[in-house]
Every structure is written in structure tokens, then in C-alpha cells.
Amino acid sequence: MKRRTFWTGLAVLATAALLGTVVLVADRLSPKKSEQGQGRAAIGGPFSLTDHTGQPVTQDILKGKISLVYFGYSFCPDICPTDLQLIGQALDQMTDEERAEAQALFITIDPERDTGPQLAGYVPLFHPQLRGLTGTPEQIDAAAKAYRAYYKKVSAEEAGTSDYLMDHSAFIYLMDRNGTFVRVFGHGVEPAEMLEWFRKVRVG
């Protein structure tokens, strides 16, 4: 158990450092450069999950759509709703044609609480087009690893609260029609900025 904790901690540090770098790089590079920028190959990859309607999904759902992908948990009353709302607003600001090519995915990092039915009640609060994805802890772990998303359960005892909490990275990933990573947006990003990037990717 101790050993596992150590390796988890190490992975977490590496992930945080990598993500930090990616954000910095993405922010500093000009749009054109960033599209071919580094980090592109490092983020994204195969996943096998189940959506909030019970339908099994893989990374293939990214194909042909321009996607905004977010990792979070529905118990989070604060950070996740804010970011999901911003994603919803970005979708709302699109033209109908653009929206038809857009996809928004909320991948839970708290599969224990976020079952399909829980997500089915949660995701429509933010946008009818938002799709919630859950899975077994192993499946969630693999998806989070592919996206370099960080999460960690903090027990109620450890946190000093009446229920357990999840620490998690709060990034919105933009993926192109091939399912290739374009860039990340940080917590609280303006919908207009997401839209601007969406449009850049859309026209290629």
C-alpha cells in the first residue's frame, strides 16, 4: 500500500509538471505554432468508457467532431459547474452548423459517485449536447492517464469533511476531428476564447 502511494505520488507530480508545461507552452505560442506545437502527441489516446445513456464509447467518438473534453466530478459544487457552464456557453455561441460539428465530453474522475444515471441527471444541466462518460475505476484511470489528467481521492478523514473529496486538474482539452490534441484551456476560460480556437481548428 505504501509503495503504491509512493508511485501514485510520483506519477501525480510528473503529470502536474507536464500539464503545467503544456499550459505554458500553449499560452506562449502563437496560434499557428501551437497547432503543430509540442505536447500534441503527448495528450489524448485510447479510452473505453460508457456514456450517461449506457452506450459504450471509445476514442472513436472523437473522429469527425471537434471536441471539448473535461475531467471532473459531479459532487464538485464549484469548479466543475463553472467550467461546464463555460463549455455550454461556447456551444451556445456557435452557429448551428458549427454546433453540429462540436462535441462536449465530461469524463468523471469519481466513478464511485458518478454512475450513468447520476451523470444523466447532471450533464443536461449545462448543455443538451454535453455527454457524460463514466466507467470502471480502471477505465477512468486509463482515460485520465491518456489525457495526463490528474485526480486523487481525499478520504473524509484525511480532508476533515463528512464525505470524501476529489482533487483534480481542471482543464478543458480541445481535440481536432482526428481526435488529436490541439490545446488546453485553464479553469475559468472565456467561452469566446474556446470559440475562437474551435473556429481555427474547424477551418483548418
Binding site: I79, L125, A170
Partner: protein, 164 residues
């Protein structure tokens, strides 16, 4: 000059003392966010101010939740960490304490029913000196970032009004 300054200091001190005895807490701009039908948690946001001296928010209770806790969010390198606030939330005269998304919030754990946009619920806050202060918290859209000032900013753009 020295006497004047001295007198000024004294009267200020007297005012402060007088103020502390009858300090009044105000809780303004409360709001909450609509929750999923099966949500286990929610949050309330509000602004605390005091007209003189200081006080401390220690906790609270509400009929809508099993537990009311004081939480904050720490953002470290893009990682969100929600944690309980140790030792209460201080309120000092002159600087209102804002509990708002992304930081301090009142966490409602064990929701007994979903929080529905357009409805409101009572929340009692317990202060170290002022004791219990009750406030009615309106429920806004699921991602509302601020208390509703202009009409209907609660939901997400054009889909927001459907629960009214």
C-alpha cells in the same frame, strides 16, 4: 498637535469599543446553483460584512442538507483542491468577505432534495459573536457565477430560462 492626535486616537478607540458591542453582521447577495436530480452536494455563496469590529463564521445548518460545512477551493498548478476551512471564516469591518465560486463556499452535503432553479431555501449561519443569522438563498442556474443582478444570468445562454 500631539494633543489633537492623541484625542483623535482616543475617540477612535472609543468608537471601536462601542461598535464591537453592537456590531451588526449582514449577509448579502446569497445564491446557490441548481443541482442534478440525484445530486449529493451543493454550495451556497454570499457576502459577509460587519459594521464594526470583527466576527467569525463558524458553521451553519439548513433543512435542505444533512450537513453544512465551510469549504474553500485551492487552485495549485491547475489542480482544484476542495478543503474545509479551519477555524472559521473571519469577517472584519471595512472589508466584506466574499464567498464566491472558485474560493470560499458554504458546502451543503447530503442534499435532501435537488436544488431547483427559481426556488430558494433557508440557511442559518452561526457566528462566534453574533450567533445565528438566517438568510434565504435563491437557487440560480447550475453554473451561476454571481448573484443575479440582471435578469436571468443563471443558466447557460439561451437555454437558461426553461425552468422559470
Amino acid at each position: 498637535m500631539r494633543t489633537f492626535a492623541h484625542r483623535l486616537f482616543l475617540s477612535a478607540a472609543v468608537l471601536l469599543l462601542a461598535g464591537a458591542a453592537q456590531a451588526e453582521i449582514s449577509v448579502t447577495s446569497p445564491f446557490s446553483r441548481a443541482s442534478a436530480p440525484t445530486a449529493k452536494a451543493g454550495a451556497a455563496f454570499l457576502t459577509l460584512s460587519i459594521d464594526a469590529g470583527s466576527d467569525k463564521l463558524l458553521g451553519g445548518s439548513s433543512p435542505v442538507a444533512d450537513k453544512v460545512e465551510l469549504h474553500t477551493h485551492l487552485m495549485q498548478d491547475g489542480i482544484a483542491k476542495m478543503r474545509p476551512v479551519d477555524g472559521g471564516i473571519p469577517v472584519t469591518a471595512g472589508t466584506p468577505t466574499e464567498l464566491k465560486p472558485g474560493g470560499l463556499h458554504i458546502m451543503l452535503i447530503g442534499l435532501k432534495a435537488p436544488l431547483k432553479q427559481g426556488e430558494s431555501f433557508p440557511l442559518t449561519l452561526n457566528f462566534e459573536k453574533a450567533g445565528a443569522v438566517s438568510v434565504n438563498v435563491p437557487v440560480q442556474g447550475p453554473g451561476a457565477k454571481a448573484p443575479m443582478a440582471e435578469h436571468d444570468h443563471g443558466g447557460h445562454g439561451e437555454h437558461s430560462g426553461h425552468q422559470h
